[in-house]
C-alpha cells in the first residue's frame, strides 16, 4: 500500500538526552567553562514587570527516588499574558525585559531544581476562551525517550483554574490536581512547589502538545 500514500517528511525521531545532557545544555554544571553567555534558570535578571516568584520541585521515578540527572526547561508568558515570541498573535508588545524561557538541572545530590521568574498573566485559549495562568514545562533525562511536557498552574488561582480549558479537558478530575503548584512563603519570598511524579499513584499528567 505504501506507494498509494501521500508522503511528506517525517519528524526526526527523539532519543533520550542521556546522563550527560548537562555537557551540552548546562556546561557549567558539568564543570566546562566554554561559553561567554550561558543559559540559566534566572528569568528576572533584566528586571521584568510582574510579581517575583520561585518555582521549585523535584522529579521522582516510579519508586519515589528523585532524579538527580534531570534537565528542566520552562516557557511562559510575561505578566500581561504576552509571549515574547514572533508567533504570538495577540497584537500586543511583550515585556522587552522578559525572555520567557529558562533551563536548569536538578542538583546532583538532592535532585532539587528551581527557577527565579515572575507569575505569568492569563493567556487566550482556543475559540476566544481564556486560560488560567500557567508555565509550560518539559523534562529530559536518561531513561526518558521523548521529552515529557506538562504545565504548572497556581493554587491561589482556583477560580481561573476551574475555568481553564486544558485542565477541564482532563476527564479524570483527581488528576487535574497534579498540575497545581503549592504556594508557600519563605523569608518573604513567594515559592511555588511543583513536584513531578513520572510514574505511579501520584503520576503527573503529561501532555501530547
Amino acid at each position: 500500500m505504501k506507494g498509494w500514500n501521500f508522503e511528506e517528511l517525517h519528524e526526526t525521531p527523539s532519543q533520550t538526552g542521556g546522563p550527560y545532557v548537562h555537557i551540552g545544555l548546562l556546561p557549567k554544571q558539568a564543570g566546562i567553562d566554554v561559553f561567554e553567555n550561558n543559559f540559566n534558570n534566572d528569568l528576572v535578571k533584566n528586571n521584568p514587570q510582574g510579581q517575583r516568584i520561585r518555582l521549585e520541585g523535584q522529579v521522582f521515578d516510579g519508586i519515589g527516588v528523585p532524579l538527580r540527572d534531570v534537565l528542566v526547561e520552562i516557557w511562559q508568558a510575561d505578566a500581561n499574558g504576552i509571549y515574547p515570541s514572533q508567533a504570538d498573535f495577540q497584537d500586543k508588545v511583550a515585556d522587552v525585559n522578559f525572555h520567557g524561557w529558562g533551563r536548569t538541572g536538578a542538583d546532583f545530590k538532592t535532585g532539587i531544581w528551581h527557577f527565579d521568574t515572575i507569575k505569568p498573566g492569563t493567556v487566550p485559549g482556543r475559540k476566544a476562551s481564556t486560560q488560567a495562568p500557567h508555565i509550560n514545562l518539559i523534562i529530559f533525562a536518561r531513561g526518558i525517550n521523548t521529552g515529557l511536557n506538562t504545565r504548572v498552574y497556581f493554587e491561589d488561582e482556583s477560580k481561573a483554574n476551574a475555568n481553564d480549558p486544558v485542565l477541564n479537558s482532563i476527564e479524570w478530575e483527581p488528576r487535574r490536581q497534579t498540575l497545581i503548584a503549592k504556594r508557600e512563603e519563605r523569608d518573604g519570598e513567594v515559592i511555588y512547589r511543583f513536584d513531578i511524579y513520572i510514574q505511579g499513584d501520584k503520576e503527573t499528567v503529561f501532555l501530547d502538545i
Partner: protein
C-alpha cells in the same frame, strides 16, 4: 490571501518515535509514565517559543576543535558536520538554536559522573551551539567521538554519536535526539536506537559521509538533515484565536 494565517502544528506521529516504556533500555522502566499522554488542542502557549540572537554567541561556539583547546589541538579525527533543518512540509527552519554535545575520541565524556577508563583530552570540551541561517543550514566542526561502554546489559556499547537539541519557532517542536555515523557496526546492536520502532526512522539518525565536501589535508565531512514538526496554514476558521 496576502498574508498567511498559521494554524496549529501537525500532530506528532507517535509511531515515528520511541515509546516511553522500552524495557530493553532498562532505565526507561522506572522513568516512563504508566498513563497515556493527554493530547490537547494547541494554544498560543504551544505555538510560540523563545528567540535567540546570533550576537549572544561567541566566534568559536560551533568549533569544538578549538573552543576548549588550551595547549594544543585535541586528539582525534577532524570532521565537519553540516546539513539543513526543515519542517515536515519542507520549509526551512530559520534562526533555530541547535546545541550539540559528545564524548571525545576515546569515548570519554567531560562530566563528573563519567568514570570510564578511556582518557580525558585536556584540549577537548565536547559542547557547541549555533543558529540555523535563512536557508535552515547549520555547520559545526568537531572530533569524531569514540564508542563507549555503559551498564545496561554488562557489555553494552554505544555507537559513536553526537547528541543534539533544537529550540525553533514553536514549543511543540522542542526536540532532543542523537545522530550516528554511516557504517558504524554498533548501530545494529544499540538498545537505545532500537527503541525507535521503524527501520526508516532509525536510518533518519545516521549522518552520511559527504566525500566531495572533505577538505584536503584537513577534515572529512558528514551530512545530516533534521526534520521538525510543521504548521498548517488556515484559510477558514482559525480556532487558535
Amino acid at each position: 490571501m496576502s498574508q498567511i494565517l498559521w494554524g496549529a502544528y501537525a500532530q506528532r506521529n507517535t509511531d515515528d518515535h520511541p515509546p516511553a516504556y522500552a524495557p530493553g533500555y532498562k532505565t526507561s522502566v522506572l522513568r516512563s509514565p504508566k498513563n497515556a499522554l493527554i493530547a490537547i488542542g494547541e494554544t498560543v502557549s504551544e505555538v510560540t517559543a523563545p528567540h535567540f540572537s546570533a550576537d549572544q554567541f561567541g566566534p568559536k561556539d560551533n568549533d569544538l576543535i578549538l573552543n576548549c583547546a588550551k595547549e594544543g589541538l585535541p586528539v582525534g579525527e577532524r570532521v565537519i558536520v553540516h546539513g539543513y533543518v526543515r519542517d515536515q512540509f519542507g520549509r526551512p527552519v530559520k534562526n533555530a538554536l541547535l546545541e550539540v554535545w559528545q564524548a571525545n575520541a576515546s569515548g570519554r565524556y567531560r562530566h563528573p559522573n563519567d568514570q570510564y577508563v578511556g582518557s580525558l583530552d585536556p584540549n577537548f570540551g565536547g559542547c557547541g551551539r549555533m543558529m540555523t541561517d535563512e536557508n535552515g543550514f547549520y555547520i559545526f566542526r568537531t572530533i569524531k567521538p569514540g564508542p563507549y561502554p555503559w551498564r545496561n546489559r554488562i557489555n553494552e556499547w554505544r555507537p559513536a554519536h553526537i547528541h543534539f537539541s533544537l529550540i525553533a519557532d514553536g514549543w511543540a517542536q522542542r526536540l532532543i535526539s542523537q545522530f550516528y555515523f554511516e557504517g558504524d557496526t554498533l548501530i545494529d546492536s544499540c538498545p537505545i536506537l532500537k527503541t525507535i520502532p521503524s527501520e526508516e526512522q532509525r536510518r533518519a539518525l545516521i549522518a552520511l559521509e559527504d566525500k566531495s565536501n572533505f577538505i584536503e589535508a584537513d577534515s572529512r565531512c558528514y551530512r545530516f538533515d533534521i526534520t521538525l514538526r510543521g504548521r498548517r496554514a488556515t484559510y477558514f476558521e482559525n480556532e487558535l484565536h
